[in-house]
C-alpha cells in the first residue's frame, strides 16, 4: 500500500462526502421548490436570488437553536441515534462506481472508493442497518409517540427488505456478478438492466421508497397520528441530522438504482465522446451523465411525495407481504426459466 494510493482514496472519499452533503442540502431546497410547483405556489424565494441561499439559512437556524435533551431520556442513546442515522446514510456511497477510470500520466485512478466482490450485499447491509438510527432515537426519547414510530420503522424496514432482496436476486441471475463495477460495465451500449428486469426494477424502487421512509411510506413520521414520529423530542442539529440523513439516503438509493438498472455512467455515443475528449474529460462527462440520472430519480422521489397520499398501516403491510414478495418470487422464477431456455438453444 503506497502513500499515493492512500492520498488518492482520501481525496476521493472527501469529494464524495462533500458532494453527498451538498446534494442533500440542496435536496431540501429542491423539495420545497418542487412542492411549491406542484401546489401552484412560489416556494422559498427570500434568501438570495430564487431563494438559493435558503439551505444555508436553514443550517444556521438548526445550529443556533437551543438543544433540548428530555430529562427522562436515555442520554447517550439519545445522542447516538442521529449520529448513527447519518453514518449509515453516508457509508453506502463507498461501493458505487461514479465513473470510468481517469488516466493522469501513467496513473489510472478509478472513480470508485472500493470494488469489493460483494458490492450489492454491502449496500443491502448498510440499508438494513439504517433503521437502527430511527429505532434507537425513538426508544431513547422516552415518549410513546416516538416509541410507536420506532416500532413502525422496524417492522416496515424488515418487511420491505425481503422483497428488495428477492428483486436483487433476479438481477443477479441476469448479471452473474455482485461487483457494482462489473454490473455497470456489462450495461455498456444500451444493455441497460431495466430492459431485462422491468418488474424487478419496479419492486426495487417501491422498496427503496419504503426503506428511505419517503412518502407514501413515511409512516414512521406520520404527523397526523404520531406528532413528529421518532424525532418528536429532537431539536437543533440532532433533528437536522435526522432530516439530512433522509435526503442522503434518497441520494444514495437514487445512485444505486441508476447503477443497477439504468447503466450507471454509460450513455449513448459514449465511445465516440471518450475517443474525442481524452482520458480525463471523457470519464468526467460519464460522471456528469450519472449525476443527471441521479437527479432525475431524486426529482421522481419528490414528485411522488407531493402526489400520492400516505398509506394506512395495514395497507402497507398488505402491499409488502401479499403484493411485492409473491411478485418478486414470480420474477425470480420467470427470469430463471428464461435464462435456462436461452442457454439451452
Amino acid at each position: 500500500m503506497d502513500i499515493a494510493f492512500v492520498i488518492e482514496k482520501f481525496i476521493l472519499v472527501t469529494i464524495i462526502f462533500a458532494i453527498s452533503l451538498l446534494i442533500a442540502m440542496y435536496s431540501t431546497y429542491a423539495e420545497r421548490k418542487v412542492a411549491a410547483f406542484l401546489q401552484d405556489r412560489l416556494g422559498p424565494d427570500r434568501a438570495g436570488p430564487f431563494g438559493i441561499l435558503q439551505p444555508l439559512a436553514d443550517g444556521v437556524k438548526m445550529f443556533m437553536k437551543e438543544e433540548i435533551i428530555p430529562s427522562n431520556a436515555s442520554k447517550w442513546l439519545f445522542m447516538v441515534g442521529p449520529g448513527l442515522a447519518m453514518l449509515t446514510a453516508c457509508i453506502g456511497t463507498a461501493v458505487i462506481p461514479w465513473g470510468s477510470a481517469i488516466t493522469i500520466g501513467d496513473r489510472i485512478i478509478p472513480l470508485q472508493v472500493t470494488d469489493i466482490n460483494v458490492g450489492i450485499l454491502y449496500i443491502f447491509g448498510v440499508v438494513s442497518l439504517g433503521v437502527y438510527g430511527v429505532m434507537i432515537g425513538g426508544w431513547a426519547s422516552n415518549n410513546k409517540y416516538s416509541l410507536l414510530s420506532a416500532i413502525r420503522a422496524a417492522s416496515q424496514n424488515i418487511s420491505y427488505e425481503i422483497a428488495m432482496g428477492l428483486s436483487i436476486i433476479a438481477l443477479l441471475l441476469v448479471t452473474g456478478t455482485m461487483s457494482l463495477k462489473e454490473i455497470v460495465e456489462q450495461q455498456h451500449g444500451w444493455h441497460w438492466n431495466i430492459l431485462y428486469q422491468p418488474l424487478g426494477f419496479l419492486i426495487f424502487m417501491v422498496c427503496a421508497f419504503a426503506e428511505t421512509n419517503r412518502a407514501p411510506f413515511d409512516l414512521p413520521e406520520c404527523e397526523t397520528e404520531l406528532i413528529g414520529g421518532y424525532h418528536t423530542e429532537y431539536s437543533s442539529m440532532k433533528l437536522g441530522f435526522y432530516l439530512f440523513a433522509e435526503y442522503i439516503n434518497m441520494f444514495v438509493s437514487s445512485a444505486v438504482m441508476a447503477t443497477l438498472y439504468f447503466g450507471g455512467y454509460n450513455y449513448p455515443g459514449m465511445d465516440w465522446v471518450l475517443l474525442h475528449t481524452g482520458p480525463i474529460i471523457g470519464p468526467l462527462i460519464g460522471t456528469l451523465v450519472f449525476f443527471i440520472k441521479i437527479f432525475t430519480f431524486i426529482f421522481f422521489f419528490m414528485w411522488v411525495r407531493w402526489t400520492i397520499p400516505r398509506f394506512r398501516y395495514d395497507q402497507l403491510m398488505h402491499l409488502g407481504w401479499k403484493g411485492l414478495i409473491p411478485l418478486a418470487i414470480a420474477n425470480i422464477i420467470i427470469t430463471g426459466i428464461v435464462i435456462a431456455i436461452i442457454e439451452k438453444f
Partner: protein, 165 residues
C-alpha cells in the same frame, strides 16, 4: 498487523459480550449484542471470508437483532415490572451455566489446534469459491438445511393461526 488487529477486535468482542450479560437494561443488552456481532463481522473480514462477513452483517445485525429490539421495545421491560425470581431459580441457573462452561472447556480441550497447512485455499471464503463448494460437494446438506428452515417458518405461521384451524 493482522495479528494485532485480531487481538484488538477479539478483546472488544469479549468486552461487549460481557456487557450483554451485565447490563441491567434489556435494550442496552441487545445493543451490546449488536456490537458483538459487528466485531464478529470484522473477524470474518480478517479471515478473508467476505461473503460470510456480509451475510453475518445483513442477517444477524440487520434483521435478527432488529426483530429482537422490536420485541423488547414492544414489551417495554424495565426494572419496575420485572418479576422477582426465587432463590431456587437462581441456583438452578448457576448450576446449568457451570455445566455448560465445563462442557465447552472439555470440548475445546478435545479439539486439536487447527493446522495452517491444511487450509489449502485461503480464498475459499470469497463469493465465487464458496458458491461452487456449496452447490457442488455440499449440495444435498445445503438444500436439506433450507427445507429445515422452510418447515420452521411454516410451523411458526401455523402456530399463529391456531384458533382459526
Amino acid at each position: 498487523m493482522g495479528t494485532s488487529v485480531f487481538y484488538f477486535v477479539a478483546t472488544l468482542s469479549v468486552i461487549f459480550s460481557l456487557l450483554v450479560i451485565f447490563s441491567k437494561n434489556p435494550v442496552h443488552s441487545v445493543l451490546y449484542l449488536i456490537l458483538t456481532f459487528f466485531t464478529f463481522t470484522v473477524h470474518y473480514v480478517l479471515l478473508n471470508a467476505q461473503f460470510l462477513a456480509v451475510v453475518n452483517f445483513i442477517v444477524y445485525m440487520g434483521a435478527i437483532m432488529v426483530l429482537f429490539l422490536f420485541v423488547l421495545m414492544l414489551l417495554n421491560l424495565n426494572k419496575d415490572n420485572e418479576p422477582l425470581k426465587s432463590n431456587m431459580v437462581k441456583i438452578v441457573g448457576v448450576i446449568a451455566g457451570c455445566c455448560l462452561l465445563v462442557t465447552l472447556i472439555g470440548s475445546l480441550k478435545a479439539t486439536a489446534v487447527s493446522d495452517p497447512v491444511l487450509l489449502r485455499n485461503p480464498d475459499l471464503g470469497l463469493l465465487k469459491n464458496l458458491g461452487k463448494e456449496l452447490f457442488g460437494p455440499f449440495m444435498l446438506p445445503f438444500e436439506l438445511s433450507s427445507i429445515l428452515l422452510l418447515s420452521a417458518m411454516v410451523g411458526a405461521v401455523l402456530l399463529t393461526k391456531k384458533e382459526k384451524v
